[in-house]
Amino acid sequence: MDVAKSMEGARVRDEARKVLLNSFRGLLSSDWNRIEAWAKDLEMRYEGPFEYKPGEVFWDMGDTRSDHFFILDGLVAEVWRSPNDESFIYALVGGGEYCTNEFQYLLGEPSRSRFEVIQPTRVLVLRPEEEHQLRQSSSPWEQLSFEVGRNILKKRRERLRLLSGDREKHLIHLFNKYPGAQEWATKEQLASYLGVSRATIYRILDRLGFIVSKETL
């Protein structure tokens, strides 16, 4: 029984690492032949997969660690406290995407956001100590960071575009991109993500046919 469990664990780990390596390959495709050995070394440095349940956090406001997370599957919300001292869901991050404590990693400041799990999520994690070792020798780490950053910028630009338009379209886009949000995200989380009131989110969901029976407001 233990052997079977252990074999299953090894299989899950192998599959998770394949997903990560494929992600690297997608990001660094133009230089892949030159970089492949380095990417395999990087992949080996990730720990996991780890499982998180809804409500658990990757990191909280004020945290100063900046582990690098690669999401295998699931959905996580970045709850951000703006300079106005108000909290919003700034971004959602799902399978195949990367996230880190941006405030610490990029600005050297304690986090002003919290990464909170919305639906059961599996991740691989690269610790800063491992990243530090990678940076000591000449490596394509900066190139990989740039490619990951480009995707994040594209995503944030798209979010701005969606926020400037119709909220219904934004919600449909969200559900298409992260189908788990429809089942797992609460009305409060959806309202926070779209920047509307709870009553408005009910109206939108009702209009789109996502609320079958009338719920109390």
């Binding site: 951000w80 703006s82 300079p83 106005n84 108000e86 919003f88 700034y90 941006e102 990029l106 600005l107 900066e142 190139q143 960071s145 740039f146 950053g149 480009r150 994040i152 910028l153 594209k154 944030r156 630009r157 979010r159 701005l160 575009r161 926020l163 400037s164 338009g165 926070s192 779209l194 920047g195 509307v196 009131s197």
Partner: protein, 199 residues
């Protein structure tokens, strides 16, 4: 102050300690900026579909970067005086622009051409540090702008925008301000009258 020194200070300050190894490269980059013909209100620095490669420095104008989509347009960001700016799609992805950079307040702009930029980048081995720095600047701008648009209360939305862009009220017409904040003109008028004593 010599303009290239001003730009150099801006670049090296932004790069902080990571800029130290690149002093020569940053100085060469700052010196390579050349003036473009002055922009007047309504002129465009670039339009959708163009490939505006290179890096720009806005000396004294005000620009609005507009995202042009089939179902309308939205303002992505404002570029105020003394700011570096660039077309993100072309600079980061070598793709045609989907935005229009429109001049709101007249002034002059300086630019490093794509070929000069590439040559200096190669010669001084600027690597990914400079581009990552500019990504960081863009990330910060997006975060602030997203917060503005997530803010439900119009008054707070305007106050936050004024904090981010202190010269906002004098730079934009009321109509432009309403469009930037996604508010109606009457809301903008009401808030300005009540909060800032100007309508």
């Amino acid at each position: 102050m010599d303009l290239s020194l001003k730009i150099y200070d801006k670049l090296s300050l932004a790069m902080g300690s990571s800029g130290t190894p690149y002093r020569g490269g940053l100085l060469a980059l700052a010196r390579a900026f050349q003036p473009l013909p002055s922009f007047r209100r309504g002129n465009h620095v670039w339009n959708p579909g163009e490939l505006p490669a290179g890096l720009y420095y806005n000396l004294e104008a005000v620009f609005a970067e507009e995202d042009v989509q089939p179902d309308g347009k939205s303002v992505v960001r404002l570029v105020l005086p003394d700011q570096l700016f660039f077309c993100e799609e072309t600079y980061f992805y070598n793709e045609p622009s989907t935005t229009r950079m429109r001049c709101i307040t007249a002034g002059s702009v300086w630019k490093v051409s794509a070929s000069d930029y590439a040559m200096i980048h190669r010669e001084f081995g600027l690597g990914f540090d400079l581009i990552n720095l500019l990504s960081l600047k863009t990330l910060g701008e997006y975060r602030s702008r997203t917060a503005q648009l997530l803010q439900c209360a119009p008054k707070v939305r305007l106050e936050q925008a004024v904090r981010q862009y202190p010269s906002l009220l004098s730079a934009l017409t009321r109509e432009e301000l309403a469009s930037f904040l996604l508010l109606s003109r009457s809301s903008v008028h009401r808030i300005l009258s009540k909060t800032y004593g100007r309508g």
